[in-house]
Amino acid sequence: MKQIVYAILVLLIVGHGVPGKDAGPVSGEDPAVEQRLANLSKELRCLVCQNETLADSQAGLAEDLRREIREQIKAGKSDKEIISFLTARYGQFILYRPQVTPTTYLLWFGPFIILIAGFFILFRYIRQRRDAIVAEPLTSEERRLAGELLSAKSGKEAL
């Protein structure tokens, strides 16, 4: 029993993964500024470890960029201004959600285009199949034969 409890405890601890030092609020900083910094840096990519957000990354550059953003927030810059400051230097790549511009149209709308194309192909296929099936109504002779067979069937049911 004890072992099971230990095992669960170990799993709980390991299950948390390596939490890493959170890049969250720095003590002694204005919490409102830190909140905005946290929200902004979640949307931004760390260029050193590209699959990490600026909020999570411990890379030196990420720290510098957080410092830069913090200073700009304190200087009264809007989020939009800060984002354009960063994209002017690092390009759209720094944004996890790229802006909708002609160069990103394919990225944003490509999946929908493929979906619509898929529907189009599906509908065309269904219509083709419907057209391919030719209705062949029974002639009166065939109808009579069928009737005979059906009525005869009831007699043979004992078999």
């Binding site: 260029l47 050193v48 590209q50 510098d64 994209t87 230097r89 790549f93």
Partner: protein, 178 residues
Amino acid sequence: MIKYLIPLVLFLGLVIFLAIGLNRDPHEVPSPLINKPAPAFTLPQLKDPNKTFSAAEMRGKVWILNVWASWCVTCRDEHPLLLEYAKTNAVPIYGLNYKDQREDAIAWLGELGDPYVLSAADVDGRIAIDYGVYGAPETYLIDQSGTIRFKQIGPVTPDVWTNQILPLVQELNRQGNR
């Protein structure tokens, strides 16, 4: 017959896209600063902190700004090439010493040689942010009007130097002398 070839064509298209995508280095992020004015800066010189160096001083010249640091391993690989290229006097190479300790940086240059006309010390990396630096080494080629014409992410290789940087330098000098 064509109907059966469509999936094959689609598949080949997919293969081509994936082949291109997988052979690209995701660390090479295209810089939005190409053909934009090089951000202005004035920084203390590494070897003589009482003097400053500013990008504006380089107006009218084609020059190279190489971002380096003593802690940067790849810079060490790149270094012998820079020394060699500096000797050819093809284009002046200036250094941006990125987030480094002054003593370490000077010792590094003393040990390995100094290819730079001078290095400017960007101790807290602020100027590097203006230049969109996200690693070292990075190299910028800046023209007479102070416009960034080329950026190399990672070390300058002999191939990049001979086939991209040198022709561009020659071209810019030709235009400048006209």
